[in-house]
């Protein structure tokens, strides 16, 4: 116990800390400028000076550790004078342009000068003149205002790990600059904006467009992009989002955001939004009234159900929609339309992996807290780059690396280039073999774990049948790291699922997780990929992951939903598409999804959807899929409606309504209206009402309320429900498959940091950062092809060709080339073929051999 006195107040502390922290804890304010909670103490600005008894000079509270018996004064005439002096020095160069500066009103320097003075400066010399730099599209840099507190530089290097900016020059000339001196070329997380205490770094998204005190309202909500679910605050004026900011220390992101979360909100106010229902008349989509559109949908679905049965109707749900939307959607499909043909895009990655892992290792195996990652001593990253798919989770990996963890990357993870200890490159189509070899080696050293007999047996069988892949560099080192590490985490990206032998990789990762008692994290591209599964938008499971084929569960739900559930085995996503092509599926209802663009082989998907009798698409934009629909229904987007989402940790959070709009309707409301017209009543006041029902029927969420979620009591396993154990007792066997087709280069779907799906292309800020698709290619491949950065090329596969721009990337070590799936008519998925994985039913990417030609 440490006891000290601050301002005559006695304070007892359990833990050693700095004087500043102790004072803040005791509610005593000490002014600071260079101090920021998430950063290491710096002691640069000297504003936090305090008097300490028996110490000859003033001490900086932010760097001074408390000691037993210390007596401290934080305010006195001397201290005030020193602070005034420091501020006077800062104002030698800081311009007095507050009336013009965006920061005024929330400027730390302004507040400090207001409190401590000086009212007049005594310096007669000219102020430093530096023109404001607008060379970057997103961030404005005003170095006249910079007070050289270095918070931005420390944030960028010590927390974000991007190290894109530095203090350049010295003395009077010191300024923050990116390497290039003009454009930032960085990760555009904008965390430097958060920490800048003055108006030296400003966002150009809202430059000079409002004052901080002119905000109509502030809504604390959750990001709409990836499966991390960062807390953020939306500031609204005149019913339009003015800016998105994080709250210091709040949420699982602790005040940090990524480029998409901070700058990607503009799609909500896009002019391309659907404003009215559309109905196909004489082959053209024409505006219609809600009544007309809803009547048509209800009549058509009713008719098809009567004629061909529920078996011929299917639904595709959305990981962009809320739990409530998805819950109601599957209830509508099952009860109103009488079908189990219901799935989501999650099947192509997250959902397929999640089901496999949970079947083998039990429910909740992937539900681990992101924060725990940084305490791991070894982290294996495979199947995707966490720093671009789930940027904030990626930061935890970087943090772990800083703490000395071993980071092993299998495949490509550009964002971990400076943080990895080891990289393993598995040849294209041999990823599973490499992982199996690793598992066999770990098994050979560790032996059976003895917890699940069938798993031990499965691993032994696999190990016996595996020939060691000897020519892959680094496997032995990785094995050594894994065997020595007391706490291992595996971060699994879903690229590995998209192989027709993806289940082999899944088994190998399950085996490693099991043998090493590792924590398993599953990267999730969209905000509610976990929620869409837990809400029951899968053919074989009811809400809460209850298998439909178990009679007890079925009965329970039939009782709760007051009608009988369809009996047949539902189709998975790609089977639904195939069904549409063959005519087994006659009507398809798509909520918030764009299969034509997001699934491989666009031609095939389009052909399938074209052969449907009836296609309904509910979306916020007229997507490539909506263009084919018979009826298009405009929905409400993020920040326009309230609903819960479940992140990759299985944490439930509420996305709150922030702006009013007259155009669309909530997804769940549209569904309930149609359902009512079809004779199955769904009556709910609001999304909270639906959550109450969901919490009642799904044992997963037992009794969970919005109130509890708001209080943060929504972390897995919500109410301590006992976890479902391993669901199966035998390892599912798949068909033997595929190898490379001897191409020189292979196309892989990239998941860029600045774009996600197709929403981000409607956000001007993100398209400014990344205006068009790029092809990431290794330096060796570029040399062989005679290409350099910025060259325009045609990428051609057997399925088609696309124009793109070359970016030579040193983090790529093999003959893969990476292209994203974000831009209209220029997506990567369109160029790929697929073959279903017989176990997970995820589409395995094939036909990815490419030729690259300079234009």
């Amino acid at each position: 116990m440490i006891t000290l006195t601050i301002n005559n107040k006695e304070i007892s502390l359990e833990q050693p800390m700095t004087v500043l922290e102790a004072s803040r804890q005791a509610g005593i304010k000490i002014p600071t400028l260079c101090y920021f909670e998430a950063l290491k103490p710096y002691g640069g600005c000297r504003l936090c000076v305090v008097e300490v008894e028996r110490m000859p000079r003033l001490q900086t509270a932010c760097t001074l550790m408390v000691a037993d018996g210390m007596v401290i004064q934080t305010e006195s005439d001397t201290i005030s004078e020193v602070r005034r002096g420091i501020l006077e020095f800062l104002l030698i160069n800081h311009p007095l342009d507050c009336p013009y500066c965006d920061k005024a009103g929330e400027c730390e320097l302004q507040d400090l000068v207001n409190k401590y003075g000086p009212a007049v400066g005594r310096h007669k010399e000219e102020k430093r003149k530096v023109p404001e730099s607008h060379k970057d599209q997103i961030l404005a840099r005003n170095m006249e205002r910079c007070v050289a507190c270095t918070r931005c530089v420390r944030m960028c290097s010590d927390v974000q790990g991007a190290s894109a900016i530095s203090m350049m020059g010295r003395g009077n000339d010191t300024r923050m600059e990116p390497f290039s001196a003009d454009s930032f070329n960085c990760e555009y997380c904008g965390n430097c904006l958060t920490v800048c205490p003055v108006g030296a770094i400003l966002s150009r998204l809202y430059l000079h467009s409002f004052r901080p005190w002119q905000v109509d309202r502030e809504v604390d909500t959750v990001c709409s992009y990836c499966g991390v679910g960062c807390s953020l605050t939306v500031q609204v004026r005149d019913d339009s989002i003015k800016r998105v900011i994080p709250k210091e220390g709040k949420g699982l992101n602790k005040g940090l955001l990524c480029s998409r979360g901070r700058f990607g909100y503009e799609y909500i106010g896009s002019d391309d939004r659907l404003t009215t229902p559309l109905v196909r008349k004489n082959g053209k989509l024409e505006p219609a009234t809600w009544t007309e559109a809803l009547e048509i949908v209800a009549d058509k679905l009713q008719g098809i159900r009567k004629e061909s049965g529920g078996v011929s109707i299917a639904g595709i749900a959305s990981p962009r929609c809320s739990n409530e939307d998805n819950y109601l959607f599957q209830k509508f499909m099952r009860m109103t339309c009488g079908t189990n043909n219901i799935d989501s895009i999650s099947r192509t990655g997250y959902g397929a992996a999640q089901k496999y892992f949970e079947d083998l290792l039990g429910q909740g195996i992937t539900s681990n807290l992101i924060d725990g990652l940084k305490n791991s001593e070894a982290i294996v990253v495979l199947g995707g780059d966490p720093t671009s798919i789930n940027p904030i989770l990626g930061l935890s990996i970087r943090e772990a690396a800083r703490r000395g963890a071993q980071i092993a990357v299998i495949g490509n993870a550009k964002g971990l280039e400076r943080f990895k200890t080891l990289q393993i490159t598995a040849p294209v189509f041999e990823e599973a073999a490499v992982l199996e070899s690793l598992l066999a080696q770990v098994f050979a050293s560790k032996g059976e774990r003895g917890e699940h007999a069938f798993l031990d047996r499965g691993i032994a069988d696999m190990a016996a049948g595996t020939s060691t892949v000897s020519d892959v560099k680094g496997l032995d080192d990785l094995k050594k790291i894994l065997l020595e590490s007391p706490s291992t985490s595996i971060v699994f990206g879903t690229d590995l699922v998209q192989r027709s032998d993806g289940h082999r990789s899944l088994f190998a990762v399950s085996g490693l997780t099991y043998l090493l008692e590792a924590r398993l994290y599953l990267l999730s591209e969209k905000a509610n990929e976990q929620g869409v599964i837990d809400a029951g938008c899968v053919p074989d499971m009811l809400p809460g992951g209850r298998p439909l084929h178990i009679e007890d569960f079925k009965k329970k739900f039939e009782m709760l939903w007051k009608d009988s559930l369809p009996d047949f085995k539902g189709k998975t996503l790609m089977e639904i598409i195939e069904g549409a092509r063959t005519g087994d599926i006659k009507a398809l209802y798509i909520m918030g999804e764009n299969p034509v663009f997001n699934l491989p082989d666009a031609k095939y998907v389009k052909e399938a959807l074209d052969s449907l009798d009836f296609l309904v698409v509910q979306d916020i934009f007229l997507s490539e899929t909506a263009e084919l629909a018979d009826v298009v229904l405009p929905a409400l987007g993020w920040a326009e409606r309230t609903g819960t989402v479940t992140n990759l940790e299985r944490r439930i959070q509420v996305q709150k309504k922030a702006v009013e709009t007259s155009a669309g309707m909530e997804d769940w409301r549209i569904i309930s209206e149609i359902s009512g017209k079809m004779g199955y009543k769904m009556e709910y006041k609001d999304s909270e009402d639906i959550m109450d029902e969901l919490a009642q029927v799904s044992p997963l969420y037992r009794d969970l309320t919005y109130k509890e979620i708001d209080r943060g009591k929504s972390i897995w396993p919500y109410h301590g429900e006992p976890l479902r154990g391993a669901e199966i007792s035998e390892i599912p066997a798949g068909e033997e498959v595929q190898s490379g087709n001897g191409a020189d280069y292979y196309l892989a779907v990239d998941r860029p940091l600045f774009h996600s799906g197709t929403l981000s292309r409607r956000s001007p800020a993100l398209t400014k950062i990344m205006p068009e698709p790029v092809l990431r290619i290794s330096a060796a491949s570029a040399e062989k092809l005679g290409l350099t950065d910025g060259d325009r090329v045609n990428v051609t596969t057997s399925a088609g060709s696309s124009e793109t721009v070359v970016v030579v990337d040193d983090s790529i070590t093999d003959n893969r080339v990476y292209m994203g799936n974000n831009f209209k008519d220029r997506g990567a998925c369109r160029l790929l073929n697929f073959r279903l994985d017989s176990v997970t039913k995820a589409p395995g990417i094939e036909g990815c051999g490419v030729t690259i030609e300079k234009r």
Binding site: S157, A164, S166, M168, G169, F179
Partner: protein
């Protein structure tokens, strides 16, 4: 979006030299200053490309490299002539006529302080004391030291630098 610069690269000998320096220190960052000297030697001055090469060779962030390089006056951030004259104009040198020597360099060789002669032969940097007050005025040409300067002596010395 990352913009790459057209390829200018260290050759293998230089890479080996830098790797040798790296091994001397427990921390990559400590090898930065000596590596920057090497880059300056190789490329004449520290262009963004040159600093990018250093960053890559040491696996350090580019911004950190430039931040460090921009702090020190011995690194050149603009192209310089084939030979760099660093002339002292501090007290002793000034008293003994260093400023006249600056004028002489201007008129005779067409090189101004912080500038480069048109033929690219000389650049001139005015610097503070180089510790030769007893034999002032003094200058450095590249890394060679010369003192007891006069106009004729400068002429004689610079003959050797083409």
């Amino acid at each position: 979006m990352a913009v790459r610069f057209e390829l200018i690269m260290f050759n293998e000998t230089v890479i080996n030299e830098i790797n040798g320096i790296r091994k001397k220190y427990p921390d990559r960052r400590s090898a930065l200053l000596p590596s920057l000297y090497i880059a300056q030697r190789e490329f004449g001055w520290l262009s963004l490309k040159a600093m990018s090469c250093v960053a890559k060779a040491l696996n350090l962030p580019e911004a950190d490299v430039r931040g460090t390089a921009s702090f020190y006056s011995m690194f050149k951030h603009n192209p310089v002539g084939r030979n760099v004259i660093q002339l002292c104009t501090n007290v002793s040198c000034m008293i003994l006529g260093a400023e006249k020597l600056v004028d002489f360099l201007k008129s005779k060789y067409g090189v101004h302080p912080n500038g480069t002669s048109e033929d690219g032969r000389f650049s001139l940097v005015i610097m503070e004391c180089i510790g030769a007050c007893g034999t002032a005025p003094a200058m450095l040409v590249n890394t060679d030291f010369h003192d007891e300067l006069s106009e004729s002596r400068i002429e004689e010395i610079l003959e050797k630098y083409k």
